[in-house]
C-alpha cells in the first residue's frame, strides 16, 4: 500500500447484546457478538471476513455502517472517528459507505421500478433530479451489465443475479469509497455466482473503492480478497495477505477451516486435521483463547490467558500462544 493512512481503521471494536430472561426481563447474560476487533483497510483493497456462523461477521459489517451502534471502539474513515458521531454529523459519511446484502429479494422494494430503486439515493442526498438523474441511473445500469431499458421494470421481473446487480448499482450510485458486501452471492445459483463475482472485481479495478467482503464460502472470499481475516467467537484470530494465509495458515482454527473445505477434485484426498465439537456459545465464551475447547494443541496457558494478535511474519498476524513471531511453520 502506498498511502500513509488507511481508508478504514477499526480499533478495539466491541458489540455486546444483553440477554434478558424471566418475567422481569432482567439481564441474565451478555452476547459477546464482537469482542475487540481491529483491522485496517486500504483504498482499492478488499478485506475478506470469514468464520463460522454467529462469529460476528455481520455485526462487524453493520457497526462499520453504524446500522448497529458499537458498544465501544473506534471506526475511523479517512482518519475521522465516525463511531461517536450523531446521526446528522454522520450524514456526509453515509455516502461513502454502502452495503450489498445477501438476499437480493428481500432488499428491494417490490413496488418501485428498478430505475427508481437505483436512483433513490441520488434524490435522498439531493445529488441529481429529473433528466440528469435518469442519465446517471442509465449509466449505472450499463456499468453493472443491465440494459437501460430495464429501468422501468419491477424487481419481480428480474432473476436473482439481475436483482443483485440492481443492489450493486444502487450501492455505486453515490460513488462510495467502501462497499460492505455481506454474503452477496450466497443466495445465487452456482452458475450465476461467477457473473456477480467478476462484476464486483471489474468495478473495483475501474473505480478503486474498497470492499469489506463477507462470505461463508472460503473459496469465494479467497478469490475476491487481497487480505483475509479469520474470526472466531467475536475476535479476529488470524489476518494475512490472502496467498500467505492459504500457503501458511498459522492459527489452529484457520488450519482446521482450510482442511474442512471439500476440494472439487476426487484425487485430492485431504489429510484431515478435522476438528470435533461445536462452536461454543457467544453468551459465555470460553476463557483465555476462545478456541481452546476445540484445539488439539491447547496448553494450560490457553485456558486462562487470551492471546493477542501478534506479528507472525510480513503482512501476517496471529492470536495464538504457539506463535513465536518468526512466521515459520512448525
Amino acid at each position: 500500500m502506498t498511502e500513509q493512512r488507511p481508508l478504514l481503521e477499526v480499533t478495539d471494536l466491541v458489540k455486546h447484546y444483553a440477554v434478558r430472561g424471566g418475567v422481569l426481563r432482567r439481564q441474565v447474560g451478555t452476547v459477546h457478538a464482537v469482542d475487540g476487533v481491529s483491522f485496517t483497510l486500504g483504498a482499492g483493497e478488499t478485506l475478506g471476513l470469514v468464520g463460522e456462523s454467529g462469529c460476528g461477521k455481520s455485526t462487524v459489517a453493520r457497526t462499520v455502517l453504524r446500522l448497529v451502534e458499537p458498544t465501544s471502539g473506534a471506526i475511523k474513515l479517512d482518519g475521522e472517528d465516525i463511531a461517536p458521531l450523531s446521526k446528522t454529523a454522520l450524514r456526509p459519511y453515509r455516502r461513502s459507505i454502502q452495503i450489498v446484502f445477501q438476499d437480493p429479494f428481500a432488499s428491494l422494494n417490490p413496488r418501485m421500478t428498478a430505475g427508481d430503486i437505483v436512483g433513490e439515493p441520488l434524490t435522498v442526498h439531493s445529488i441529481a433530479t429529473g433528466a440528469k438523474k435518469q442519465e446517471r441511473v442509465a449509466e449505472l445500469f450499463q456499468q453493472v451489465g443491465l440494459r437501460p431499458d430495464q429501468m422501468k421494470n419491477f424487481p419481480h421481473q428480474f432473476s436473482g443475479g439481475q436483482r443483485q446487480r440492481i443492489c450493486i448499482a444502487r450501492a455505486l450510485s453515490l460513488g462510495p469509497r467502501l462497499i460492505v458486501c455481506d454474503e452477496p452471492v450466497s443466495a445465487l445459483d452456482v452458475s450465476i455466482q461467477a457473473q456477480v463475482i467478476n462484476l464486483l472485481i471489474d468495478l473495483q479495478r475501474k473505480q478503486n473503492f474498497s470492499y469489506l467482503f463477507i462470505a461463508h464460502d472460503l473459496a469465494v472470499v479467497a478469490h475476491i480478497s487481497h487480505r483475509v481475516a479469520v474470526m472466531y467467537l467475536g475476535r479476529i484470530v488470524e489476518i494475512a495477505d490472502k496467498h500467505e494465509l492459504f500457503a501458511n495458515p498459522r492459527h489452529p482454527y484457520t488450519q482446521a477451516l482450510l482442511a474442512s473445505v471439500p476440494i472439487a477434485d476426487p484425487k485430492a484426498k485431504r489429510a484431515a486435521p478435522l476438528i470435533d465439537g461445536d462452536v461454543p456459545s457467544p453468551i459465555n465464551p470460553p476463557s483465555g483463547c476462545a478456541f481452546h475447547t476445540r484445539c488439539r494443541y491447547a496448553i494450560d496457558r490457553c485456558k486462562t490467558e487470551r492471546p493477542a494478535l501478534q506479528a507472525a511474519g510480513p503482512a501476517h498476524q496471529v492470536a495464538c500462544w504457539l506463535n513465536d513471531g518468526t512466521g515459520r511453520s512448525e
Binding site: 443475479g161 439481475q162 450465476i192 455466482q193 457473473q195 469465494v220 492459504f246 473445505v261 470435533d276
Partner: protein, 337 residues
C-alpha cells in the same frame, strides 16, 4: 425394460416423470430420469436451483404434493418392488423403514415438543418389536454412534436445546435407526458451517459404508461431490444431462453445462498460485421450466450451440465407457479433451 437388475442394486429408477400443474401451466420438474444405486454406494445428484433434484427425491419417497404435482410415468424399484405400484399403507411402511430421508433444515423434520430420544424410539419401534427400555437404549446408542457427546443427557432434551450441528446429527441418528436400505440426504450440510459440515459428511459416509446403506446425496457443492460420491448425475431443467463416475466426471466433464459449472467455481488458492485467474462465466440465466426452448435446454447459454441444438433434444449417449452425456457435441468434446 426387462433387463435383470443386478442383485446388489438397492434402487433402480427408470424413466421417472413428475409434472406440476400450476397457474403458469404444466411443467415437467423431472423429465424421463433414470438412475440406480447399489448397496454401500453414494450417488450424488447435482444441478442448480429448480432443476429437479428434490422433486426426484420426493418422487422416490412418494411425497410429491398432489396437487399440484403428480408422478406420471416410470418406475421406482426398491429391493425388487416397484414403489409406484404400492398402495398408501404399504408405502408408509417402506418410508422410514427401508428408505429414510435427511433434509437440509433439521427443524422441519424434528418434532419440537418431543424429546430427541423419544423421536428416535418412534423410528426404532415403527418396525421393530422391542421393549421401551430396550428401545431407549438403542436410541442412546444411535446418538453415541453419531458422536453426540453425553448421549444419555441429550436423549432427554428437546430439539431447541441442541446446536444446529447436533440437531443434524440427531436427524441422521433417526434416519439410520431403522437400518434403511436407502438413505436420501437432500442438502444435508448446506445450512452448516464448514468445520461441522466436514464432520457430518464424514459421519454419514462412515455409517453408510458400515451399514451397507445406499446413499443418494443431493448437493450443489462440487467439492462435497468429489470427496464423498462414487457416481454423479448432473441435472439441468428437469433432465439428466450427464452421468459418470466421480473420477471421470471431474477429469473430463463432457456436457458444456457441467464444464461451465466446474470452470465457474473459484478454487481455494493453491500455495504456489500467485495470480488469480478470472472465473469463467456461464452467460445468461436458468430457463423457466414453463418456457423451455425446443431442443437442448442449455442452448441459449451454450457457446458450442449449433442449429441442430435448437431444434432436436440430444439423446443421452454413452460417450465414453460408463460416462453418459446428452449433448450433440459431446463426442467432439471427448475427443478434444
Amino acid at each position: 425394460m426387462s433387463e435383470a437388475i443386478p442383485a446388489e442394486t438397492v434402487l433402480d429408477v427408470k424413466n421417472l416423470q413428475t409434472v406440476f400443474f400450476t397457474n403458469s401451466g404444466l411443467f415437467r420438474a423431472v423429465d424421463d430420469v433414470s438412475f440406480s444405486v447399489r448397496r454401500g454406494e453414494t450417488l450424488a445428484i447435482v444441478g442448480e436451483s429448480g432443476c429437479g433434484k428434490s422433486v426426484s427425491a420426493l418422487s422416490i419417497m412418494r411425497l410429491v404434493p398432489d396437487p399440484p404435482g403428480r408422478i406420471v410415468g416410470g418406475s421406482v424399484t426398491l429391493e425388487g418392488t416397484d414403489l409406484l405400484k404400492l398402495d398408501d399403507a404399504a408405502m408408509r411402511s417402506i418410508r422410514g423403514n427401508r428408505i429414510s430421508m435427511i433434509f437440509q433444515e433439521p427443524m422441519t423434520s424434528l418434532n419440537p415438543v418431543m424429546r430427541i430420544g423419544d423421536q428416535i424410539i418412534e423410528a426404532v419401534r415403527l418396525h421393530q418389536k422391542v421393549s421401551s427400555k430396550e428401545a431407549w437404549k438403542q436410541a442412546v446408542d444411535m446418538l453415541r454412534l453419531v458422536r453426540i457427546p453425553e448421549p444419555e443427557r441429550r436423549a432427554q432434551e428437546y430439539p431447541h436445546q441442541l446446536s444446529g450441528g447436533m440437531r443434524q446429527r440427531a436427524m441422521i441418528a433417526m434416519a439410520l435407526a431403522c437400518r434403511p436400505a436407502l438413505l436420501i440426504a437432500d442438502e444435508p450440510t448446506t445450512a452448516l458451517d464448514v468445520t461441522i459440515q466436514a464432520q457430518i459428511l464424514a459421519l454419514i459416509v462412515d455409517l453408510q459404508q458400515r451399514l451397507g446403506t445406499g446413499l443418494i446425496l443431493i448437493t450443489h457443492d462440487l467439492g462435497v461431490v468429489a470427496q464423498t460420491a462414487q457416481r454423479v448425475i448432473v441435472m439441468y431443467a428437469g433432465k439428466k444431462i450427464e452421468e459418470a463416475t466421480v473420477e471421470s466426471l471431474f477429469e473430463t466433464p463432457l456436457h458444456p453445462y457441467t464444464r461451465g459449472l466446474m470452470a465457474s467455481i473459484p478454487a481455494v488458492p493453491s500455495p504456489d498460485a500467485k495470480e488469480d485467474v478470472r472465473l469463467v462465466e456461464i452467460p445468461g440465466m436458468v430457463p423457466s421450466l414453463t418456457r423451455l426452448p425446443p431442443g437442448c435446454a442449455f442452448a441459449p447459454r451454450c457457446k458450442l450451440a449449433v442449429d441442430r441444438c435448437r431444434q432436436e433434444y440430444p439423446p443421452l449417449d454413452e460417450v465414453k465407457s460408463n460416462h453418459w452425456a446428452a449433448c450433440w457435441r459431446a463426442g467432439e468434446i471427448a475427443e478434444a479433451s
